[in-house]
Subunit: 197 residues, 2 copies
């Protein structure tokens, strides 16, 4: 019997290193696949359409909402983010492990739709450090950074709805933490176990 794939939902306040952790984790866990989200936020250097996100105009995104093409969507710091309905159930059925990056309120919706999914929250070691990282990234102005740090403080209260929490103090350790969560969930008896002959 083929085991169903694992759905891993990852959330993090902006600047916590979610994308970098996942990028590194995908190198050590080549069995992982991204669920590609749709977003109205501006494309960043190095990002590719259909790989990192499906970049949409606000009009296009609103049309997707209206026609029921999204599993969930949320608005965050002025941009829309959403998960296209299309491929997650079929990926899981075919035994593939899917990683979905979504905002904190979207995560609870996914848990309702896929109760066996694993919710992972990534946090910075401190809010001071988060602010430093956002400044270093240099993609947002001072006002936006302040807003993002304020939002991060609010998002903290969502941790209790998650299964695991990773503190991204050192990237290498955070990547190991993420890989360990994926590995151990796949060894979990509640997900089925092999018959020894």
């Amino acid at each position: 019997m083929m085991k169903k794939g694992l759905l891993i939902v990852v959330s993090a306040p902006a600047g916590c290193g979610k994308d970098t952790i996942l990028e590194c984790a995908f190198n050590v866990c080549p069995h992982l696949h991204y669920s590609v989200s749709a977003t109205t936020r501006t494309i960043r250097e190095g990002e590719q359409e259909g790989v990192h996100y499906f970049f949409k105009s606000i009009e296009e995104f609103k049309k997707m909402i209206k026609t029921g093409e999204l599993l969930e969507y949320t608005q965050y710091a002025g941009n829309y983010y959403g998960t296209p309905k299309a491929y997650i159930p079929s990926m899981l059925e075919s035994g593939k492990d899917v990683v979905m990056k979504i905002e904190v309120d979207g995560a609870s919706n996914i848990k309702k739709l896929f109760p066996s999914c694993v919710l992972v929250f990534i946090l910075p070691p401190s809010f001071e450090e988060l602010e430093r990282r956002l400044q270093k990234r240099g993609t947002e102005d001072a006002k936006t950074i302040k807003t993002r740090v304020d939002i991060a403080r609010i998002e903290m209260s969502f941790v209790k709805n998650y299964d695991y929490v990773i503190i991204n103090e050192k990237l290498e350790e955070a990547v190991k933490d993420f890989a360990a969560i994926v590995k151990s969930e796949k060894l979990s008896v509640k997900r089925g176990f092999p018959t020894v002959k």
Copy 2:
């Protein structure tokens, strides 16, 4: 707030490599501590009193049962195995992670006493391979090996009571599996999470 230690209960049919896996896992997870069991089985080469087991005569063991000095005990392939009551709760309270090796029926008792413990079952890739490994070990005669393989087949039915199952096909992978389980359980939100300031 200091997090309570993790209690990891490990069971495996004889010859599945439980001791070797744990020995290697302790090298990569130096924060682990053994819960030392009492047993009436014969001491093997390289084993030390108080480190691997407390080796007891049948009379001594029966006295420990009578005076209530054991958390649980079981009889297996003609020998007694038991867990002294003394130090587990105090180890966990002081934040130490404790590994307890016990037989399958003992594991359920420990789960009742420590509901937050993690139950790990180690299995061989096949019963044929298990027999080969027992023969290679050379510590049991042919009849005992047959008994042990028969017992292993029965023990398989206990897997469903466990949290995780590791198939020891390659030692290195099994050690990584074990370390991942420990790491991820320590990141689990249900065990408490740090407050970011």
